[in-house]
């Protein structure tokens, strides 16, 4: 099975974020990490390769710093990487990102393409589905399990409120992977060493320029959300807090 995993570099989960001067984006001086759903997608690809043999290729689009995500993926066991490298990719909408990826892989022949179900920064949950449509491939989203069948694959799709559904699909296909599908592995020291010799193909913006267009949507401004809730802070020592809280529970909320 030849599997492509699309990964995104996003600010670290608990990194303190500040808006830039123009309030058009965040300040870039933060720590970054691989988008967690994408890490689950990579893990799933590695497990499928362990079961069925094949190749796992990782791709990301972003500035030079995004290479870190690829290096970590290679250290975990991916075979090679593709880096659509340019600062401009940070501002691309999902449609353009998908177009750039499709252009970068046009000479490859993948059986499966995985993305995480959504990114922790934008949270759009679109890139994988758009990519499937651009490639003309079937797709399924929020996937919790993948099994190979004679006619393709059988996936377990997660629905709301604890419901699930199995879906039979032909290959090639695009799947967006849900967090918690598996347990993430750590890169081993040997893996990190081997990663140094694995190829990272750089793709410049100019190489995919003809495939993309202007963004079809625009972030006019970013801001700290206006709080509509009045929040009361309860302070003091733990025992003081406990007493104050019980007082609220009894007299204000009336649950005791």
């Amino acid at each position: 099975m030849k599997i492509l995993v699309c990964m995104k570099q996003v600010p670290q989960k608990d990194a303190p974020l500040k808006l830039n001067e123009a309030a058009s984006w965040i300040r870039e001086d933060v720590s970054y990490e691989a988008n967690e759903p994408d890490a689950f997608a990579l893990e799933e690809a590695l497990r499928q390769r362990e079961k069925h043999k094949g190749e796992v290729v990782v791709i990301t689009s972003g500035p030079a710093r995004a290479q870190q995500v690829l290096r970590e993926a290679l250290a975990k066991g991916a075979d090679r990487a593709i880096h659509l490298e340019d600062n401009a990719f940070v501002g691309f909408d999902a449609f353009n990102t998908a177009k750039a990826i499709a252009a970068a892989i046009k000479d490859e022949k993948f059986d499966l393409i995985f993305t995480g179900l959504q990114s922790d920064d934008y949270g759009y949950a679109q890139t994988g589905v758009i990519l499937a449509e651009l490639l003309g491939w079937p797709h399924a989203t929020i996937i919790m399990q993948i099994e190979k069948t004679d006619s393709g694959i059988r996936v377990k799709r997660e629905l709301e409120a604890g419901y699930f559904q199995f879906v039979d699909m032909p290959l090639p296909a695009v799947l967006t992977i849900q967090s918690g599908i598996n347990k993430l592995r750590y890169a081993t020291l040997i893996g990190i060493k081997q990663a140094k010799n694995k190829p990272i193909r750089k793709v410049a913006l100019s190489e995919v320029q003809s495939a993309i267009g202007g963004n079809l949507q625009k972030i006019e401004r970013l801001y700290v959300p206006q709080k509509t809730k009045k929040t009361e802070h309860i302070e003091g020592s733990p025992s003081e807090i406990a007493k104050k809280l019980v007082d609220k529970l009894r007299n204000e909320l009336r649950v005791i």
Binding site: P138, G162, D168, G180, E220, P225, P238, L245, R250, V255
Partner: protein, 331 residues
């Protein structure tokens, strides 16, 4: 043709998804702000009865978009059907609820039309005739106002709870219902879905709980859940958790609160070590009172908390359990 807002409601197995009323309310609000006409569509095998249910709301018209190939749901069928319908009707704006099913097909539909979707919106603004859609970013730490930079049709999906379904205005009389048969050629539908099923036997229905004590990653280890369990017992409430706790198997899946789990609105929701990621918040923001304990003062959970305790839950919960027990014993 006048500019139209088209709300595509959601149904499964002959029942409307309740969140559809929220999208109708959103459509009515945008229609009022812009003067555009409001229409709705129900998509499925045989949905004229459901279209009739939607028609009692204040809407100009409801379409029953039908084909046998639309049952059961597949993204290929829904994409093809709505592409046909939208190409004919040419709405200016298409609204849908941000459900798992909508996420599965609306980016495909928009792409097939060469258009874009602003997804997971929590509101809209009309700034001098320019329509902006507000959505959370960075797990709720910031909000973004987003505009369309393309031709119509525009697509937007609204987050669960962004509008109130009970605010969807009723019409003076039932709106006309029009049946639209769509053609889906052989070979278009590539996925073969099986029956929908529930995995965990629903041992506990958290939607009925009056008090919920919920744990997130801040609980650090499985054995620490015992502390939260004791607090829940002292309060006479139920134990729940955010997704990562259930994914790790520390609590069963039927304890999960959030977009993949249960949506609750108890009298009291006590969030311990929960950061407040969007996927969790949508499942509990309707709670009457929210108390959050987290050592990160910037945690997004504090945006929606009525009472905030910035501190270490392991320091705070033990004395809290004692005080609750004392109070209940008549102290």
């Amino acid at each position: 043709m006048p500019d139209t807002v088209l709300v595509v409601v959601e149904q499964r197995e002959g029942k409307l998804n309740r969140v559809s009323w929220e999208t109708i309310a959103a459509g009515q609000a945008i229609s009022a702000a812009t003067g555009w006409m409001l229409e709705a569509a129900v998509v499925g095998g045989s949905v004229s009865a459901l279209a009739g249910e939607v028609a009692v709301k204040k809407i100009a018209k409801v379409y029953a978009v039908e084909s046998a190939k639309l049952e059961p749901y597949t993204p290929d069928a829904f994409g093809a059907a709505l592409k046909q319908f939208i190409t004919t009707r040419q709405p200016k704006l298409v609204l849908m609820p941000h459900t798992y099913q909508v996420r599965d097909f609306v980016p495909k539909l928009a792409t097939a039309l060469g258009r874009t979707v602003i997804s997971d919106c929590i509101g809209f603004k009309d700034e001098n005739g320019k329509l902006l859609f507000t959505r959370p970013m960075f797990q709720g730490k910031f909000a973004a106002d987003v505009s369309f930079n393309s031709e119509a049709p525009w697509f937007a999906t609204f987050q669960n709870g962004a509008f109130r379904g009970d605010k969807a205005e009723a019409g003076a009389s039932a709106a006309p219902v029009e049946s639209v048969k769509v053609d889906i050629a052989e070979g278009v539908v590539r996925n073969q879905p099986q029956e929908v099923f529930k995995e965990a036997k629903q041992a506990v229905d958290l939607t009925q709980a009056e008090i919920i004590v919920s744990v997130g990653r801040g609980i650090k280890e499985q054995k620490n859940i015992e502390l939260a369990k004791q607090l829940a017992e002292a309060l006479g409430g139920d134990l729940a958790a955010s997704r990562p706790i259930c994914d790790s198997g520390w609590l069963p899946m039927d304890r999960q609160i959030g977009s993949s789990g249960q949506t609750v609105a108890p009298k009291l929701y006590l969030a311990l070590g929960i950061s407040g990621a969007i996927q969790h918040i949508v499942g509990m923001k309707g709670s009457r009172a929210i108390i959050a304990v987290n050592k990160d003062s910037e945690a997004p959970i504090f945006e929606i908390a009525d009472y905030a305790i910035v501190g270490n839950l392991f320091d705070i919960v033990p004395p809290l359990i004692e005080e609750v027990k004392k109070a209940k014993a008549g102290g």
